[in-house]
Symmetry: D2
């Protein structure tokens, strides 16, 4: 059949096949192609088994290129090399997926039995066990008095809660307040103990990991550190739960892969935290990606919380947004609370005062024990 | 006091003032500055009154430049011209705001009495009256049979609902299915009438506005048309309610200003629709900006709904996201529903089938009349 | 072709095959798969001819679903249904591409002979003929005196140039200056004629297209209108060159498809304009996507210019950015120029004054005829 | 100073003042306000001196709040408290700027004498000395043979060049190839020495800084680490030049502040690198922000280079984009080069082969010494 006629001209040789006849041919060809694909998949499985037995990497892009070149060298038409390349890439991808699937079913982050029924425990606080957990406290530890007032207030809240406050602050500006560092850790720990609270605080890098871990119940990886793979690996070797925040320009998949770093290195007590992404919308500090909550829930059994303060950067819409993320299935909320936000050394504009905190938890219906809980 | 010493050197002339003394001086200066600012504001009000009386534009940037030049010419230190320029620009801005405020209090979109207590009526369906309204239907009108099956299904839903379907489709690709146009309008109208449903459909431009308006109960402005000011003005002169979608590249403020175009030209029956914004996150078609719902609610009394199908572009997380936006205060939801999504002529991957629709409304608790409603 | 005795049949229980042997099997299977794919592609081509001959749509998702169901029903292993679905979707896609390619080779926007050797002519100004064209003028037509001063200045510039100025302004705020409209068109035309200049001005919608077209040499589609398909179609039927701006949240591909709308409706004289996209970077009004210039050049023969004023929103980096886009292959630059930017009724902060314009063209080396030109 | 008898006092009920008269009053009030603002600024300077002399933080938000409360308490009209708050905030900001300006003139990153006339030296290669420097090499060190072929090729390039290759790879996926680590460092160093080349390689965190620094001439901070302040501080204490890449989600200002961390801790040999930002445009891996080059140049004397491979993620538009960034003033280019890109263990699709590298440098006119250089 020549190319000479117009593309729209019906094939000239012999009486034209009907659409029905052409479709029967397609179905037959599909069946043959499928049989060959399955046969090929079986060889791929054999190769995978061979490689695993001999300690070889399953993924071998050189070999793929060879295959493509061999195939393309035998090309006729009507498919152009680029089409065939595309189809074979999808066959390669499916083959890798096939091997991957077994590995991925073993992928820590997707394991369905990852989190015990009682949730992830931080001290006696269970995250992911049905009752939303409040992570609350000031942006930074400033003084013992400040921490005491806030901790005393939080201790009165009846539901599960974790006191949060930064001692090591990752500041964009080198001359901005960098936190009280070790002194702040000690204040945070002492005050929390006095009020029977457990704590979470941020760890900035591997070199300060031990000192931070020695003073807190849960370790936070901040948004700027989500890609810090050396830190993630080190956290995998620590016996404390980790709160992993999504980078503000990170995809949901990248957050899962960062969690995988921690899990793969031995620590399964990881809580994920959506905290807004950078977009063009200026009326919120970041854009709260509420869909990330069910997306994450669909991919992993790890608990997911939402940091409302950083996502929104404003207080006036915190209540409806808090309702929204709980409705979307979040296992907890993080909010910045300060006894005197106007005087805070950092991020005062987005920190709730104590009355604002009470209003929020009342508005969320979290101020009294839920009937069935 | 000279500039000669190091910036850190205390002022040399006389015994150094204490911090307390310096602060008293600041407070006194602040009081004087405030008095002058108020006096200046009064003159600004007089000028505004004068201009309004003489039909002049209140904003006169040339005059501002003159003022700045006059001021800068009399400059001493220590403020540099750029500082003074900055402060005076803020004074100008506050002065404009002062005049604007009266205008803005008259700004349609911010008027608190904008929406009647019974909500905005589309036929007998009230939007913004307390019960969430479902906007449901296929992406495109395809055939009378398809529309009939979908309308029949929707008619059984007990709550307030509006049948949506596109007749004029704004497609990125000129060779993609462009909708049945007028034929589609007629099908939509006839089927809706048969099942006692009211309809919304998109209008693409001024030239087709009359024909679309003749066949539908509510007119939709699509995301691509949110900045189409000529269309917005024309819709202001139409006596039908408008559903105004946020552009996927539009800020919340820009959406409000687009609504203002319609209101300012005479039509107050406007419903706003969040439908996701373009970001880097690839697992959803757009990023659902849930915070936009309370942000809009804080700025206007107009009802706000959310188009879940376009915001998410996938069905598996529609239920938790639907719960989220209702919890955030949305007055309704839009979802694409098709009797055979796999065969849809457009956007099949994101359209619910009829069973999926039932699951969604059941999951949202909308399938039975609310107790108090 | 049966499953038995196939080269791909799994090694039963005999001695384990070597990696080399397994790879030979894969190569053989690949060759068989390729042969079947090509046979299938030939039937697809036949179906395409049949459909075109009978006026049927080449894309038929219903049929694809049927094929998939038939295939899946005959499934064995080890590929799971999702894998096979994925591979067959890529076969479908390649098949559609195959049909599309012929259509796309006929796609106007990709035709290599689209632009005559002498470029696209606006009056006697040739765009895309080797010498960069300057599009310069104020944001808005304000007064005859203003236009006269600017036109007189531009007329002295020795290279090819087009006077730009807005008469219909697409303003976000309904109460901002909306342009002098028809009065502005007349001023622009009269002044341009007096100085022997050709003009470009924006058209906002179909309803004002005729009046705008009657007064200008080239019609501009603004960024907010790039998706306005009704306007694009109408411009396809106008016998005047069009300057099509990229939407600030539009992909390069979407810009090409918008151009295709104009071309497909009969007008081939289209010039594309990059003008920055919306990102998170706040130091420029938009982010100038310099890569879009060679990307567009690789896809179409249509000329490409860059609007520096809107892309940057500041004047201090206009010269190096102007050098950059010309080095990247742009066929021209657009800049806003005003005789008194401080007094401009719109966008004063980003408009060059006349001296700034002279500095820019001198810095770009455009103030004297190029040697070989 | 009282409200009575003030030039700004509202016209009581006498004959209406003319616009001209009102404007004279405004000018007089402006002059008085200015005098008070300057007097206030002088007290602010005195307070700054006092604080610096006593080791106090210049910024004291508590004091600002007090001032605002005092002012607001004495409010009359017509300005509302929010207006006055806004104006006083701008006065506070200008006052802080005033103090900041001196500090900022001392800000390392803005010092005009930061870079010696001969540029920043990496071995004998001068960056920022007029001739663009090529940073070239593979994504990852894979084998000694691979590095040898690439180094041999690069050594023939006549202009200034630096061999780049990753030994520690920051991979999103924990199971992707993570680099040869220390083994890779040794290969890189040995091969580079053999061919007389200097090297740059990435350092991932503080814990591996010493080993990386021991083997390379320049240390690279990758995009994912730009906010890793602990690493930045540690690099400030290292006596080796640093290549600091912009995060793909970082603003230009944030890049400058990250550089400031390194400078403030003692290391002035910093080269900045634009490598594209994350946007919605899918045809390039990132969006090359060409405007960042002159923006950075306007803020700092530090050299600025552009990583074309990561910015674009494709090879076909590398030449025009390379021309663009050099025209915009970049001091160098980074490109990934591999002897067999199809077989690369990472990022093969964006790595040039050796012939592609030769074409690029020829196209850029860098393959022969510039006349005047």
């Amino acid at each position: 059949m020549g190319e000479d006629g117009h593309p729209g001209t019906p094939a000239a040789d012999g009486p034209e096949a009907t659409l029905e006849e052409l479709r029967v041919r397609i179905d037959a060809l599909n069946a043959e192609i499928l049989a060959l694909l399955q046969a090929r998949a079986q060889v791929v499985v054999d190769i995978g088994r061979f490689k695993q037995g001999h300690g070889l990497d399953p993924y071998d892009p050189r070999r793929e290129e060879e295959e493509l070149h061999t195939v393309i060298d035998t090309m006729g038409g009507p498919f152009a090399p680029a089409d065939v390349r595309e189809i074979f890439r999808s066959i390669f991808r499916a083959s890798l997926d096939l091997m991957d699937r077994r590995r991925r079913q073993a992928l820590h982050v997707r394991r369905t039995d990852l989190v015990p029924a009682g949730g992830i425990l931080v001290g006696d606080v269970a995250i992911g066990a049905g009752t939303p957990v409040l992570f609350a406290g000031p942006c930074s530890v400033e003084t013992p008095e400040q921490m005491e007032r806030i901790a005393a207030h939080l201790a009165r809240y009846p539901g599960p809660k974790i006191l949060r406050a930064g001692a090591y602050k990752p500041r964009t500006n080198p001359y901005a307040f960098q936190g009280l560092r070790e002194e702040g850790l000690v204040i945070l720990r002492d005050i929390a103990r006095r009020f029977g609270l457990v704590t979470v605080t941020e760890v900035l890098d591997v070199s300060t990991l031990d000192v931070v871990a020695a003073h807190t119940d849960m370790l936070q990886v901040g948004a700027r550190n989500m890609y810090n793979t050396e830190l993630l690996k080190a956290l995998g070797r620590i016996g404390k739960p980790v709160l992993l925040k999504r980078g503000f320009m990170a995809t949901v998949e990248e957050l899962l892969l960062s969690a995988e770093y921690i899990l793969a290195h031995g620590n399964e007590a990881v809580v994920l935290c959506e905290r807004g992404i950078r977009t063009f919308e200026p009326w919120t500090r970041n854009t709260l990606d509420v869909a990330s909550v069910p997306l994450l829930k669909g991919e992993t059994a790890l608990p997911v919380i939402v940091d409302l303060s950083h996502a929104l950067g404003r207080k006036d819409i915190m209540l409806p947004c808090g309702r929204a993320v709980l409705a979307a299935g979040a296992d907890g909320l993080m909010v910045e609370v300060h006894d005197h936000p106007d005087q805070a050394l950092s991020d005062g504009f987005q920190q709730l005062d104590l009355a604002g905190f009470d209003e929020l938890v009342a508005g969320l219906g979290l101020d009294r024990p839920a009937p069935g809980r």
